[in-house]
Amino acid sequence: MKVLTRIGFWLLVAAIGLFSIFPFYYAVISSLRSGADLFSVAYLPERLDFSNYVAVFERQPFGTNIVNSVIVAASVVALSLALGITAAYAFGRIRFRGRSLLLMTILAVSMFPQVAVLSGMFELIRSFGLYNTLPGLILANLMLTLPFTVWVLTTFMRELPKEIEEAAFVDGATPWIVVRRIFLPLMMPAAVTTGLLAFIVAWNEFLFALTFTLTNERRTVPPAIALMSGSTAYELPWGTIMAASVIVTLPIIALVLVFQRKIVAGLTAGAVKG
């Protein structure tokens, strides 16, 4: 009986692992096959054919798309953290009237459906002359990352012991100096966690990127992959699409494997959306 339970347990573990990994594994295998090979199913790699990886950069500006995604995601992370840490200091360390209400309002923004701001955001971005530009996307993405950045950082900030800044204030330091000299170093681990989450959100964002860009050269990776098409609508270049998918997923998987603990801590601290 005990042996059966153990076998059952390990089968379950294996099933979960297989179910989690298989789609990515299959994408890798498919990306290494091309032409008529793709019209038969293979479970194991036969030979390494990198022509799809060459094609993805030759047939469309996929290199530019990746650079766009990196610029947008990095800027969103930098801006969210800069704004988030200063705001989190105020929310987490200073008592003032309306604090809870304000924090709740900011949290409520992270519940906004993206589509609810779509027409207003479109108008805003066009009136700033930012339609089909990267700054437009950066601005729009802040709506998704800033609320939870403030929320999670506030949670972390509140857990730091009170004595830390009291000594500094007695010595006559200003709040700004306290934030910069004392809290910024202490908040580094929390900032890394939140920054990672913000990066993943911005890297994966699709609806704004699809709506606020027009030309292929200005697209970030998600709309570029979603709109990848072949010579006809019925003949999708699956090998190339899988190659592109593997290229953009690898860095994210690397991040997740390296920073697993930090990401989990951030997710559970703020219980932010996935």
Binding site: P23, R99, R126, F206, T249, I252
Partner: protein
Amino acid sequence: MSGAALQASAPARETMRGGRSSLTRSRVRAAWIFIAPTLIVLILIAGWPLARTIWFSFTDASLNSLADYQFIGFENYVANYDGEWFGLLTDPDWWHSVWNTVWFTAISVSIETVLGTIVALILNASFPGRGIMRAVILIPWAIPTVVSARMWNWMLHDQFGVINDMLLRLGLIAAPITWTASPDTALWTVVMVDVWKTTPFMALLILAALQMLPGDIYEAAKVDGVHPVKVFFRVTLPLIKPALLVAVIFRALDALRVFDLIYVLTANSRDTMSMSVFARQQLVDFQEVGLGSAASTLIFLIIALLVVITMVAGQVRLSGEVR
């Protein structure tokens, strides 16, 4: 931003020498200065666009001439011309998308909760390789939704897909299934991919709750020889219920907004269209900013109502957290 804060800190330094109460006052002022940039940005990119969307829903604006529109009251929602009803609330396609979204949310979140709990219980047991497993189940969550939709599109391909191939080999089906195109399977397919992608998130939230449970109750139950299943339903489940509820609510709010997955997996198909896909189609593809904004406003109201209900119901705990 730093310039403004520095300027403000100069007079703040003066008052700080004045004693405790002025110190408090200057800190409160600093708090507002620190919060101001975030507030301004959020009002600009969230508050204002939302207000404009609601305003557009009462107009006949179109996408190519956004500045040139007229106020038409509630006509985007419901209108009557010569005895015939028009508007969103009389549009069967809109109600179909509402039904799809609610169905999708209910089914996928239920499955994810059950599977997430099972995965969390497994990861809570100690076995060699647990750390690796915890990283592995994060992979589906981290893959961009668009990419996972494309991967599954390929796996579910009706002619060359690996899923049909597996099922045929195992003799479970007699002929290939057109997963994403057939009305009978399309929405179930969307649910399946969503379950694959979001169960890890559920599992991690539940796992965090499990790890905070005191170990001695389990010792006691073990000593008394209580069956593990009974322990789960009588002890574990009631204890993790608050965390479970939070996870379910977060997931449900997310699922009600679903866009990427359905848009990429099944395009603008009526069988699977969610509220968000419907609204975007009106807005962008049909250029009907008025009608699309009306749909967006309704989606916002539905979700806002749910958030308010949740917040009122969970007020005690949330306010405890804020303090």
